[in-house]
Amino acid sequence: MRYKEFNRNSVLEKCIPLFWATGFRACAISDIVEETGVNRFSLYEEFDNKEGILYAALELYKERYAQANFDVLKKEGTPHEILFQFFNSFLNGKQQDGCFIMHVGTELADNDSKVQTFLKTYMDEIEQLFVQLLEKDSETKADSAFYARNLIGLFCTSVSFCLIHPTEKRERHIKNGIQVILNKKLNHA
């Protein structure tokens, strides 16, 4: 084991809000050094390069923060209630509103294939959790995959343009979206 003077995860914990607020491109290695108090040689030794820090930060965010929001989807309740709580969990978290992975994805997925793959895996995972939730309810069971695919769109919306709206307006949009999607059969009967 190599001796490390710094704790890997506590460095990443500081990088998440830094990348989130400043943007990855705009963030120089000197900013990371200043924020974390770790010198650039140690950072490069641990993470290879600036991208390496980002990829590790994405992993940590997913494990520590997104996962807690994913757990909401495993709770008991009607799909309407649970989905509303899930979308809101990204808007009332301990960190800033929105989703770090979707934020980084928006900035970099066009040009960075690792970020693109990470984003896709992440969205697929959420879609799978939607399917599991919808399968538990007799109303949505038969078309769970269909609903889940379309609810992913609502997730994208809730962590993108909803961010500029006040709470009330955000919640209205999310509730409305869930209703239009899940009431399809009702509306088309």
Partner: protein
């Protein structure tokens, strides 16, 4: 209202817009702008400012990119077909790389959130014009019987507001086929 641009300033904004589109607001330095626009950094500091160039780039996008798309949508006589055409047109623009990168408006809202009041203000207006345009097309589709639930008009317009954000992210993550399916299915909720 976006200010009227004189020819040379418009050229400048066209170039600045491409850079902001590729790199985002924060990822673009005054130095980058100076090199890209072929003017000195002091001219940017003294005459324009990075923020002004950015705001005008967004305004320029709305006037030249978004408004023509939206007025075409509003004038469409075909109701639902007009909506399909509108959203699929966005996917085609992404596919053919007509844009330097995925939607500038979506990228900007995620990057800037509520940090800048002027941008929030601009977005509110932009969203209003989207909702109004969707409402007009929905009315036509209700009149022609394509949409059955006339009472859900406003719900549907609000719902459609989300579609472009879904398109942008789904295109990044999963590509154009997934996007086309998404548009088709999203519209099936209101048809």
């Amino acid at each position: 209202m976006p200010k009227v641009l004189d020819q040379s300033y418009e050229e400048l904004i066209k170039k600045a817009q491409i850079l902001f589109w590729k790199q985002g607001y924060k990822g673009t330095t005054v130095q980058d702008l100076a090199e890209h626009l072929d003017i000195s950094t002091s001219v940017i500091y003294n005459k324009y400012s990075k923020e002004t160039l950015f705001m005008d780039s967004i305004n320029y996008y709305i006037t030249t990119c978004s408004d023509p798309f939206l007025s075409q949508l509003r004038e469409s006589t075909t109701g639902m077909a007009g909506l399909h055409e509108f959203f699929n047109g966005l996917i085609t623009a992404l596919e053919t790389k007509m844009f330097p990168r995925s939607c500038l408006m979506v990228n900007t809202v995620v990057e800037m959130r509520t940090e800048n009041a002027e941008i929030v203000n601009l977005y509110d207006k932009y969203f209003d014009s989207l909702i109004t345009s969707y409402g007009i097309v929905i009315d036509k589709a209700i009149a022609s019987g394509e949409i059955k639930h006339a009472d859900k008009r406003d719900e549907y317009a609000e719902f459609l507001l989300g579609v472009i954000f879904g398109i942008s992210m789904i295109f990044k993550a999963s590509g154009s086929e997934a996007c086309k399916l998404y548009v088709k299915e999203q519209l099936s909720f209101i048809e």
